[in-house]
Amino acid sequence: MTPFAALAPAGLAIPHIDYTALLPELILLGGVLVLIGVSAMTPRRLPTGVYATMTVAIAAAALVASLRLWRDVQNHGAFTTVAHSVDVDGFAVYFLVLVSCILIVAAIIGSGYLRREGIAGCEYYALALISGSGAMLMASANDLIFIFLALEVLSIPLYVMAGFDRRRPTSQEAAIKYFVLGAFSSAVFVYGIALVYGATGSTNLPEIGAFLAHNVITANGVLLAGIALLIVGFSFKVAAVPFHMWTPDVYQGAPTPVTGFMAALAKAGGFAAFLRVFVATFPTLRGDWQPVIWALAALTLVGGAIVALAQRDVKRMLAYSSINHAGFVLIGLQAVTTKGVAASAYYLFAYAFMVLGSFAVVGVVGAKGDRRHDLEAYRGLAARNPVLATVFSVLLLAQAGVPFTTGFFAKFYVIAASVGAHSYALAVVAMASAAIAVFFYLRVVLLMYSTQPADPGDEATTPGPAGGGVATLVRIPVGRLVVQPSIALGLAVSVGVTVVFGVWPQPLIDFTRAATFIFH
């Protein structure tokens, strides 16, 4: 046989690619190239609003494509494509929709921030879009190697975005910390993939599941070690205790809108893959990993809530609150039921809008320079800007799980799923942690409505002639907080989703219920 015959592609079956199934991701990645191209072609720097508008348009196109895909999946059933490496099922498309929404809101909020800080915008949006495509791919990935690559596509832009405000040392510190620990956890994750591959002979999730369903592995040390490392890798990405150490520093140091985006997107993408790998692929080994998830969930719930109590910095407090939220999502995973998965998916949807909105408010209060994040900055906010205070109160109360918000249903469904799976103790832990969490959310709300001024001298400041195009140093009185129109729009969307689906929950619940795995 000549070497050429051996190299000839005889019998080489190039896999069929269903491009409509990949359309949302392709739109985002194509959009990135368009953004970069436009930025490179224009001789002068365009205002950040142009890029924001383009990003919103790109994400909206991805949303439309995702919704079309949703309709197809609901009408014609789920399928896989590109050599079974991509799942197009209800669960995946649910997250495609969610990620598109996150991108839209984050782009709107981010543009206000970038304009205020005077940071050039194009790369911010390009990185956000790539990161979003990574989250989408994580949700639809059906192969461990693909999940790993999607995880990197999701994470690496976030590392850079955390350090986007390079003039602020804390931002750089956040980026380095996130990068080093993230790279470390990725390495752990890959090692887990290697061990699972070694034990099962495949990286394809359904193949692994089928192998485990049809074979009893007598010495399964390697497989269990692999699963353990996968849990560690995922736990790091979704910030579960004890793998949460990076979270407060990174959340605090990153530019505030980036923090909101990161919290919403990394949790959505991370948990999407976490749920699929464990509930759809390793259900046969649930006896081995379920207790681990139980312990992780309990630690995360309690740890996040208790440490949040001690925080003076609002961004750190929200970081620990996000850890607490991760615990709630883990409860849905721990149930290992369809209901549990639906509850987790609902929680991620609700959480995404709450956290995007919350950090948008924190960004506004942080003011130019993005530094004023102490609790005292919120004292008397209601008097200075009643609407902003109301919005923040709604978002915080929703995070606390108050009825008539999505936050209530989110907590209700995960706890119901936990009870349905007979994990009563975990349900009790969850409710206790929710009760603790109410305290630190309410503390901020009460501070905002407190009438006692922190420093009476503030009121004496006279308002200067703001604007006018003259570069004069103007003393802005404490009474003024600039809420840019774009941030107001982003807040309106976040609060709207949180309240509307809290009062009228059925559509979102039906949407979540239909978000099921293809192989389950």
Binding site: V32, L33, A120, R166, R167, A367
Partner: protein, 205 residues
């Protein structure tokens, strides 16, 4: 041991011995070289010898990657760093930075060696289902890898291009020079956070 050698053909044995000598010699050069550039070049010799061993094992693709990635990219990066840091600066490389570092390294090395020997003698690591396949049947391993990339792993392979885009954009972001510091750098520096008293801004820019 004698039986093992008997199954190896003479050219193979000769190649192995030559490569092994270069490998160990290079490794010693990396550790003992006083000049950092010489150490880096010794590393090249080591990595090349490993590539030769890969070829001998019929892992041609791995050998090519070894040379392109390690010898080509990584060692060149090392050399760049050494040059940028200043080649003239004499590092006291032979003096321990941390007390007892050397002995810890020796101990760990012995541990790794013991582990390798232990793993080499048994086959107790995995359960059933061996995942090894023939390297060269029905196709050469390079062709098999090529097929895997363009069939089973087509999409993951394509998605790596997104990572390259990230790398380019990230490099642009991180390498950009900021001319102006924060407008409020000077007013907020050292200002206790949360002191809601004095916030200055340059308005109307």
């Amino acid at each position: 041991m004698g039986g093992l050698v008997a199954t190896v053909s003479l050219p193979d044995l000769a190649t192995f011995l030559v490569a092994a000598v270069i490998l160990v010699g290079g490794a010693l050069g990396v550790v003992l070289g006083r000049n950092p550039v010489h150490a880096a070049l010794s590393l090249v010799a080591t990595l090349l010898a490993v590539a030769v061993l890969f070829v001998e094992e019929n892992a041609q693709f791995l050998a090519a990657v070894q040379i392109i990635v390690y010898t080509g990219a990584i060692v060149v990066l090392f050399l760049f760093v050494i040059m940028l840091l200043g080649i003239d600066r004499r590092e006291r490389a032979l003096v321990d930075q941390f007390r007892g570092q050397r002995f810890v390294a020796l101990g760990l090395g012995a541990l790794v060696l013991a582990e390798v020997l232990l793993l080499g003698t048994g086959h107790w690591t995995t359960g059933a289902h061996a995942t090894t396949g023939a390297l060269n049947r029905p196709l050469s391993n390079v062709a098999q890898l090529g097929r895997a990339i363009f069939t089973t792993y087509l999409l993951p392979f394509e998605i790596t291009s997104a990572l390259l885009v990230v790398a380019v954009v990230a490099a642009v972001v991180l390498a950009r020079r900021f001319d102006a510091p924060h407008d409020d750098e000077r007013t907020l520096e050292g200002d206790p956070a949360g002191d809601a008293g004095d916030e200055s801004e340059v308005a109307g820019r």
